[in-house]
């Protein structure tokens, strides 16, 4: 079956008719009643070219063969210095019905096809995925080294936990907390196990599609073979990839894809989750782009925004103080789209911006639901020596569960 990932050519009309309205520069002023920047890349680099409108124009120029050989280095910088956070779709999708995330990803795929992309750092992680099934270049056999002794696993369970590379190798606290939480909540589950490979998100976001397609097929096959009917994700990036990209690659997955916050919110609603131990802290919540603007829950509704908030509100003692830029108007952590690998400064300044916003709420803990956001936001906390802690929502649930 041929994949249905969009090609740059599919967007020809959009690319030509971009209205230069600059709606992609700012969050929805009707919802926020505030005038706030939305585009990390545009904010950092300044020129119109670094906002979605500039990338759209580059896409057009590429299709219309206006790119000269001497342009390629700067073309790469503009195309890739963007965390594909999708904040630029807010106005564009509503009024122009243009999906800037898909356009930017298609632009990158086209650049890879033409031999212009990706960035060298992306080639490096793609090679690592090719050899050891994870972008960090860590040995595949160490993927589950973090697994706490005594974890209850049920190899026949219909629920599976897809750990993801970042939690498996870099943010292992999250993986540990997730299995502990599942155990404490008496959920029968199994791991995908030694055949869990990178979900392919870093490759898809940077236009390296062939290998990502292989990974999608492999992971789906593995999960099906294990008889898993529902897969839980604690990584927003893996969740987005399974939920939005995999169906375009393999069609119907044959199993349900659910973020850990959705799973536990459902339990909470059914009265099966008892959060009793108080956590007396002021917290604020950062919406990961990959489970927010990137997710189509239904035809009309986007984003897993309520589930994490409902869970946080259910933890006794917690006071949730929201930042200005939240939900579909959330400022990105700055790590995605291959930016953390290739544009470290952009990743860091974007995260520092978010930390400053979190601090302005008076929160003691910044909470999120993605190990990759965690990594980048933690780097910013450390760089700024900011007096705020970071926790994944799973860690708080695990702490509070009865």
């Amino acid at each position: 079956m041929a994949d249905k990932l969009e090609k740059l050519e599919d967007f020809r009309e959009d690319l030509i008719t971009c209205g230069h309205c600059m709606g992609c520069n700012v969050f929805n002023w009707w919802t926020l009643d505030k005038w706030v920047d939305c585009c990390p890349s545009g904010k950092k680099f300044g020129f119109i070219s670094y906002f979605a409108v500039g990338r759209v124009e580059l896409g057009r120029a590429l299709l219309e063969e206006e790119i000269e050989p001497q342009d390629i280095e700067v073309l790469k910088k503009i195309a890739y210095a963007c965390p594909t956070c999708g904040a630029c779709i807010l106005q564009c999708k509503e009024f122009k019905e243009m999906d800037n995330i898909a356009i930017i990803e298609a632009l990158r795929a086209k650049m890879v096809e033409l031999g212009y992309g990706p960035m060298p750092e992306h080639t490096k992680f793609a090679q690592a995925v090719d050899t050891v099934n994870n972008p960090y270049g860590e040995p595949h056999e160490k993927r589950f080294d973090w697994l706490p002794e005594g974890t209850n696993l049920d190899k026949d369970a219909e629920i599976g936990y897809f750990v993801g590379c970042t939690s498996a190798y870099r943010e292992q606290e999250l993986a540990k907390a997730t299995v502990k939480l599942l155990n404490k909540a008496n959920i029968n589950f199994q791991l995908i196990g030694s055949d869990e490979y990178c979900c392919g998100s870093p490759l898809l976001r940077t236009g390296i599609r062939d290998k990502a397609i292989e990974l999608a097929k492999h992971n789906v096959e593995t999960i099906k073979k294990k008889g898993i009917k529902k897969v839980i994700f604690s990584c927003a990036g893996c969740y987005r990839t399974f939920k939005e990209d995999y169906p375009k690659i393999v069609g119907d997955l044959g199993f349900e894809v659910i973020h850990v916050t959705q799973f536990f919110e459902q339990m909470l609603k059914e009265g099966l989750l008892k959060l009793k131990k108080p956590i007396n802290k002021i917290i604020t919540y950062h919406d990961p782009c990959h489970m927010g603007r990137h997710i189509h829950l239904t035809k009309k509704k986007i984003g897993v925004f309520d589930a994490p908030r409902n869970l946080l509100k259910a933890i006794p003692g917690i006071e949730l103080k929201e930042m200005v830029r939240i939900r579909e108007n959330a400022w990105c952590c700055g790590a995605g789209g291959g930016v953390k690998a290739a544009f470290k400064d952009l990743a860091l300044t974007t995260a520092i911006d978010r930390i400053e916003e979190a601090l302005s709420t008076g929160a003691e803990i910044l909470v999120s639901a993605c190990p990759f956001c965690r990594r980048n936001l933690m780097d910013a906390i450390n760089a700024k020596n900011a007096s705020i802690d970071f926790k994944d929502i799973v860690e708080l649930l695990e702490e509070s569960i009865d």
């Binding site: 008719t17 309205c21 002023w29």
Partner: protein, 485 residues
């Protein structure tokens, strides 16, 4: 055009003024500046350099260098423009992108003024002003546009507030030789910038309606208005344009409405529809013409005005919809506070920007002509629309008009159709008689250049006097020689 070596020198100098990060001559950076959505009418031209100053002093230094080398410069305040006004007409131009000069320097509730830099958007200033209990005069344009540029070029407004078309009080301009010109009371010794008229001719007016063609405006003090204590809305529906507009002169002459628009059915649908596929589906569900009216101010005054308004409407031309105040669609109210739905004009493809000033009484004649031209160009009659907004205070029945036909720049046949309609309509508008084009965009300016007589000559002479090297956004107000075809 100077040679490559000169450009290299200029590039180095610009780097030393603004720093290496804020100047670029890289093709992929410049591509975003070479066109706007009006590109089928204004040929895309890639600038040689784009530079982003952060202060007036930096702008002065940049302009001086350009002038020295006779290199055209194109100022761009936010980049939201639809008529190619910030697209270079000449190869080798320098675009001065002012988006980083985006500070609101002051909001003065005592003087009811705000002082802003060019990169400040309508939305940004409106939200800041509302936080202080006042508001700006809202342009009928996306809130992402520059408020300074809008007031300089003059716009069409949602809150006429009895003040007509001008909302700028004083300003400063960087002239082509790099000198700084202050106009309005800002120029008077030991004075504040809160008043437009001193003892001189209106210098600010001289620079208005000019897209940076005599100088670059780097600061402007603008009027603020009180937030209305009370608002009442009417949405009046009519089948015939003659019936719809009959109510306007008595209402405007009595100075009753704050907002009054004449919206053809399809325009209203574009402002309301949530999806492109709804556009055609909704046709037929609204009256042919809708007139939204807002009356606002202190409660007692509003109530009195509402009574008078209803009386006038009843006597002159009762609508087919009930004549009573309505709760307007929420989106409509928000739209008139900080416009966003106007982006829906891009929904079905591209935005065709043909706008002009003319008297209200010619509305039926304009629309008849346009529908005929539309048919000749291949449109159905119902696809040709003309919306209007009368300007307070309404002398000469002055209205803003905007012609609309569906089109997408992505398809050649569509571009051909719109061009056919566009050029025929421009010519016929001159024959019927209008007050002027809404902003000096190139195509219509070509048509009148020979007929402007002494006025046109003096206009050009003044431009030449101020900008002898013709470096300031050339080819925008008046076409360059080669374009006179």
């Amino acid at each position: 055009m100077p040679d490559k070596a000169i450009y290299e020198q200029i590039y180095q100098k610009l780097q030393s003024i603004v720093g290496p990060e804020r100047v670029s001559n890289d093709g992929p950076v410049l591509i975003a500046y070479e066109r706007d959505q009006h590109w089928p009418f204004v040929t895309p031209t890639r600038p040689a350099i784009v530079v982003q100053p952060k202060s007036t002093e930096e702008v002065q230094q940049i302009v001086k260098i350009a002038n020295e080398h006779k290199i055209p410069i194109v100022p761009l305040s936010r980049g939201v423009n639809v008529r190619g006004l910030c697209v270079p007409a000449k190869k080798g131009s320098i675009v001065i992108d002012l988006r980083l000069m985006n500070r609101i320097l002051e909001i003065n509730t005592e003087m009811m003024t705000a002082t802003v830099e060019p990169g400040v958007t309508h939305g940004q200033l409106q939200i800041a002003a509302r936080e202080k209990g006042c508001r700006i005069c809202i342009p009928g344009a996306p809130a992402t546009g520059s408020i300074l540029a809008n007031y300089l070029l003059r716009g069409v407004y949602h809150t006429n507030a009895g003040d007509g078309i001008d909302h700028a009080l004083s300003a400063e301009f960087v002239l082509p030789n790099g000198e700084l010109l202050k106009v309005g009371s800002a120029a008077f010794p030991n004075s504040d910038p809160y008043w437009r008229y001193t003892c001189s001719p209106d210098f600010l007016g001289l620079f208005q309606s000019m897209p940076g063609s005599m100088g670059i405006c780097t600061k402007m003090t603008v009027k603020l208005y009180p937030l209305p204590e009370h608002e009442v809305w009417f949405m009046l529906g009519y089948d015939k344009i003659e019936d719809a507009i009959a109510i306007i002169p008595p209402l405007m002459n009595a100075q009753i409405p704050s907002v009054l628009w004449v919206l053809p059915q399809y325009t209203l649908i574009k402002l309301i529809a949530k999806k492109t596929k709804e556009l055609e589906k909704l046709r037929g569900t609204f009256p042919e013409w809708t007139i939204p009216i807002t009356i606002e101010g202190p409660k007692e005054i509003v109530e009195a005005k509402v009574k008078v308004a209803m009386d006038i409407i009843r006597k002159t031309s009762p609508p087919k919809t009930p004549l009573k105040p309505v709760p307007p669609p929420t989106n409509f109210v928000k739209e008139f506070k900080y416009p966003r739905n106007i982006l829906g004009f891009l929904r079905a493809g591209s935005y065709h920007a043909l706008a002009f000033y003319g008297p209200l009484k010619k509305y039926p004649e304009y629309i008849r002509m346009m529908k005929e031209n539309g048919e000749k160009a291949g449109y159905k009659r119902e696809q040709v629309d003309l919306l209007a907004s009368p300007y307070a205070q309404f002398w000469g029945q002055a209205c803003y008009y905007e012609a609309e036909v569906p089109y997408t720049s992505a398809r050649e046949e569509s571009v051909e159709m719109v061009k056919k309609f566009h050029y025929a309509t421009l010519k016929d508008l001159i024959k019927i008689g209008i007050y002027g084009w809404f902003r000096p965009f190139l195509n219509p300016m070509k048509l009148i250049i020979d007929d402007l007589g002494t006025y046109g000559k003096l206009w050009r002479d003044i431009m030449k006097l101020i900008d002898p090297n013709e470096i300031m956004n050339p080819g925008k107000v008046f076409p360059m020689e080669k374009e006179l075809t």
